[in-house]
Amino acid sequence: MIFPDGTEALQDVSFSVDRGEFVTVVGPSGCGKSTLLKIASGLLENTAGHVSVDRERIGYVFQDATLLHWRTILSNVELFAELHGIAKDERRSLAQDAIDMVGLSGFEHHYPKSLSGGMRMRASLARTLTLQPPVFLFDEPFGAVDEITREHLNEETQQLFQREGFAGLFITHSISEAVFMSTRVLVMSARPGRIVAEFDIPFDYPRKPQLRFEAAFAELSGEVSAQLRGAHS
């Protein structure tokens, strides 16, 4: 991927994600992780190579919750179904299910401004879940929430993945987040972005919060970290 100003954002990036796989890309800031997702989703056109993604009902969660300020949570969660022309009754029940799934029941009629950052992110997840997307892209969605909220959201995302069985592609710079949720972790280097290492994560689902403190988890995290350091220099 080369931008018009000549910046080469991605080079020789090649991988695939199947349904039932949760692949996380970790890399330093500015390594082209987000560009990767924009290309996968079709928001950006790739300048070279080949991209094949099922973009019908694609799920894409951004760094910001990007809720529409003028809509209540319920109405925000309904948005995608609305854009896809789903009838009112049906999208209402889809939205309600998704809201229940992310634990926001009771907040349907609140406006985004009265919710905390973590809750807005949940609403954003719920909005995407209404589409039951076969492909789910996450662009550092939990980067702006506090540590404890992030761990909760990681556990919940992992449960959602298990339940829905989508093909997940997750971007982050948190190693623990990556190892905790994924079936596979890719390490990316910066300028131009390349994939320098690949790790299979063998832990069984559902993964318990305590997994984070087990020796195997620490060891694997250490290896990812070492690769990431190598990519950084």
Partner: protein, 298 residues
Amino acid sequence: MTTQEAAETGAIESPLVGGADPSTMHAGVYREKSRPRVLAETVLPPLVMGALIAGLWYSVSYGVLDERRRFLLRPPHQVIEVGFLDWDNFSEILSGLWSSTRVAMIGLAIAITIGFALATLMSQAKVVERAVFPFMVTLQAIPILAIVPLISFWFGTGQKSRVVVCVIISLFPIIVNTLFGLQSAERGMHDLFTLHRASRLTRLRKLMFPAAMPAIFAGLRISAGLSVIGAIVGDFFFGLGDVGIGQLLRKYANNLNGEQLLAAVIMSSALGVTVFLIFGWIQTAAIGKWHDTSDSGI
């Protein structure tokens, strides 16, 4: 406010995770101040200021001006007696005010229609914005006095010309604010609509217009005030037909009716304030639930 007070009155952000309980959402805890104190803090300052202004007014009327020149600034009680309590005089002012209000409302309605249409077009095609915008700025920059002769040339010296002045004066803020508002939706929100293949019209209806509402209302409040000024200025220059407040101001000044002149000025200002308040109220009713007016200043 002391630090302690701030801590006591400041809203507490609820750090919610997992299975959140709606009741905790209203966690903003404010310590209630006693009623008399609130009253004293909010009502007293403007009252004191008003008394000071009245005092200054009296001292000029009686202290600075001698008997022969007192018509230049009549004391407050005479203005009230002659201008407001004499029904013949006051009803004349009211009917003039009503005439000018009608002109202002018609002018504002036309300005809103033209303004929305132009701003929407400009938001849809950059080329329209580039083409139209310089001329809007030029139109805005013309001092209204400079085109008064032209307006009377083309539209006569009656109601029509007054409305034209209104439209010219109040159009610009509507266009600029509406356009700014339509362009204010965040990039990420546009991406959502792109990802889900929303049509141009859907994007406009469900994203750009709602996002523009706060800015549109800011523009409306400015323009509503300007339309009142436009109506009075227009009336001042174009006197054919209905007698508006501008004609009355001119008449009172010519006849040296100091009391009525001041009463008419006060009522004009009251009209402007009323219009501003009405639009503020509409704004709160329309978007107050999701938009904090105090946050962004618009």
